[in-house]
Symmetry: D2
Subunit: 310 residues, 4 copies
């Protein structure tokens, strides 16, 4: 295993920018991959130490794929997450004026973020989709389009200049990325952690999902994300990708996971890792009765009852 | 502590009959007490080893009292339960004919069991209540009433004869009794056990009881009895007396009890003891995922996840 | 039907005192009955207009009976409830001194209320049970016992005097009584109402009770009382007596009742009537989303969705 | 409004193939759009009658976008869904042999479907991403790549031939598309219908999602899909996209929707429409108590209770 990280390429995308916020990348080789599956396979095959891919709300695609890839195949584990605010620059060849732009390109997922800006500033422009935002920039460099939406950081790489920066529609302007490796002992809890699991439903009777959620609720474990995903074994067969607050070493989380495992034999643990968006000091404590010390106290009480000492 | 059992007296009642079904009574002194509280206080004070009292559906009163007494005061523990089918005999002085009966007596709680019989056989009789069914028999012996409803076994003691036996209305013709002692290690599980607890509610917001029940439901622990009882601290303050299937040493029951204890700080364990009404061979197994071996398997799985070995 | 009310006799008990707090009793004949079943049968048979009986936490017995009687047989309906604080007087024949009391009597259910007082004031007295507290007073009048615990109001009737009044142990010193009649349209809501129903369980699978409670919880209807009662059709067969906040004409209550009725085919409505213990001005409003106006607004919204007008 | 349907272009994609399975397309102009937002905006602006876009498990991107677009902006409604099995063909210029293929292209979302095939048949090929599968075919026509993965139907349009067909990895090989229009009265129920809504969470306390699901579960409405989606108003703010079995005119569905609306003031109805994957004859009936006739019966029962006729 080389000391390298794969990531969803090409170079010059938001994914690379997000990856470089991790300090350890200074000493790793960063390898762009053609797709999320390719990046994750490189981890599974031992070609790289880890892979860095978008997992939620990307403007570069790959989200659904990422989840489906983590759910299937040999087990992987999430070690880190990174949140990046996404804003676009309008990149042109030096000298191009706004009024001269007739064609514009970008990855299709960028469109919702720039739509309002386009309506207000370039209402008559022709949009064509590119395979990636970086590829769009390259196509502008080659003269095929007049302008591309991409990260401002892409300008230098492709010899372009930013006519406008900080373009983004109001909503969903953050993307979440994860660093994925082979299974190993999770990092110690920081006090602001997240645990990801995938649970396959047993059947589709009404209330099945409700029972699943009660495993968490009854232990006071807050859910941050819930996605049903088709399993590929016929329409109507779903698994649930779940992000829960807390770390697998928290007793409430551990008990909830064991509860899941008993009721839903097919559960895949995807990792416990620090939450990117919050400071541990700002994390709410677990609800009454759900701290590790309260678990210990209840355990002591049970032992006293079993011994008749009360 | 003497080797004696107190019971709800007087002698010659269904309670005594139920008590004598326990083999160990052959070597104990059996002490009738004037009331359930008196019987339980004798246990608390160490005057007797245990007390035997009705707890559900009695035809001799005492039910509500029993629960309230177990809930309050120094902790006690249930060690055994006995179910007794209740049928009445109509007891008269020798020589009395049915047509001569003008007055009849019994404990008021007997009335629902004999009402239909009275309507059909003695529609014009005058009913007066007695302090107990045995006391009613005594009053017939003394000539104060013509007939008494009591257990057939009471006839010999009071010099009466049974004009009719097996009298009971269709419904609720069983009474449940419990043998109560000071806290000690519960008997080992038999495979058909019951666990009794009392839980004090924290407040009366809608759904509070629902949360309580979810502690059991999520661990697959079936409830057999649920009673809300006023706590005496003002109207609207309740505690819940709960009988759950299983033994405190069953892992699903233990986890449910710990869950209760964390969320409802005031919980009183009342014992784990064999169920009187079922044969261990006929007990349904716990629902899928809730056996001790499945708890162990889930625990192993969690350890593997925590170690990254999957 | 005569303009008369039956009640659980005899005369001179707390039940009669509670009954006389209802203004309309001034113009009714009040008929003491030997038992709760007798009182309720008198209603069913049209002999009286209504019956007044204890239903919760009585010091005169009858509670379990009352519930069982309402649950079975021809339908009845609760129209009113009365709460009475129970305190005892120690009644003796004129001239008797405390130090001369060797024997004392009362209904067995009185014992828990006077136990502490007895321990502190008459530790060596002999207790014998009476069929009712009034009957105990009568037996003192006849000279059979030295003293009786009963309501202070009973002294005059039996030619006794109160050596001590306001005797009661701290807990459970209130009794709830209900006025029961044949089914008719419930009284209009007062803003502080209660609805009583009985629900027969369909089977005893784990979680059955949970589902029942969810019918209320999901509509924001708070439960005030929940009792499981054996149905008499064999051990393990229970019905649930439920008191819920609100009136059957409140939309949240109506929807919850319909939900119950669909899932549990055997439901018995026992009445909607004013809550005795609270002032309508102090009643909490229903939780967010559960007022009648919010039901109407949601209904309007649904109609707009069905019409495509949104 | 012209009689035209917009769809996610370009021409020659699976989306177009799926759209053409709708009989009414024979008489409509079909207009390819550059992106899902552009297609939906064309509906909102009245430029087209409806838009046809992928919504689940696409091999052409657009999924997340579709949901986000339906959730935000002026209301739209789903009228139809189409399921299409996705299999790829390997398209080359006439005369190209498999052994001559050095470069291959397709939309990135196609990669998971063809990965295994590539590993087995063209392990050393260079993959580059295209903006769409159709665009990849065009680039092969232009000579820029040796081969493209696309629908077999794309071959004729771009002067290519299929070297191999029916390529797909085992899983997730179906895509779901929806036909979206402006709000109007939904089509009548077919017996196998689906209702889509979006619900914004009120806050992120544990159990919030659980309460939401209970609104459905308590009315016996089965959920087919549940997605949490960030609302764009900061990390941790989610809405839930829900597909439920049944039609808004089914009483259980209507009551569940009203329940949602009361508790979660921000609910958006997205339509009731026929389920593509099942025959109405094979649809399970609603669970016991949840049919329209049982709703009616319960409603009648409530009316009788309110009138005192029982």
């Amino acid at each position: 295993m080389s000391a390298s990280y794969a990531y969803l390429g090409p170079e010059g995308t938001f994914t690379e920018v997000a990856l470089r916020t991790l300090p350890e990348t200074a000493t790793r080789e960063l390898v762009p991959m053609v797709s999320v599956p390719a990046a994750l396979d490189a981890v599974r095959n031992g070609e790289v130490e880890a892979a860095f891919v978008p997992i939620e709300n990307s403007v570069e695609g790959g989200i659904t794929t990422t989840l489906d890839e983590l759910v299937a195949g040999r087990p992987l584990m999430i070690y880190r997450e990174v949140l990046l605010s996404i804003t676009f620059a309008l990149l042109v060849r030096p000298g191009t004026k706004l009024s001269e732009i007739k064609t514009v390109t970008a990855h299709p997922a960028a469109q919702p973020q720039v739509r309002n800006w386009l309506r207000n500033n370039l209402p008559d422009v022709l949009w064509e989709s590119a395979a990636s935002n970086a590829d769009g920039a390259r196509l502008v460099q080659e003269g095929r389009y007049d302008a591309a939406f991409a990260g401002e950081f892409a300008a230098a790489r492709y010899g372009l200049v930013a006519l406008e920066t900080e373009i983004h529609d109001a909503e969903n302007a953050q993307t979440r990325f994860v660093l994925v490796g082979r299974p190993a002992r999770p990092a110690a809890p920081t006090g602001a952690d997240k645990t990801s699991v995938v649970v396959w439903q047993r059947d589709d009777h009404p209330g099945a999902l409700l029972e699943l959620l009660q495993e968490f609720a009854v232990r006071g474990v807050n859910l941050m994300l819930l996605q049903s995903r088709p399993t590929g074994e016929g329409i109507g067969n779903y698994c649930f990708a779940i992000d829960a607050e807390g770390h697998i070493s928290d007793r409430r989380v551990g008990e909830a996971l064991m509860g899941l495992k008993r009721v839903y034999p097919q559960v895949r643990f995807l990792g416990s890792y620090p939450r990117a968006e919050v400071d541990p000091k700002e994390v709410r404590p677990p609800r009454a009765g759900m701290s590790d010390s309260e678990f210990s106290a209840a355990s002591d009480w049970l032992a006293r009852c079993q011994d008749g000492r009360f």
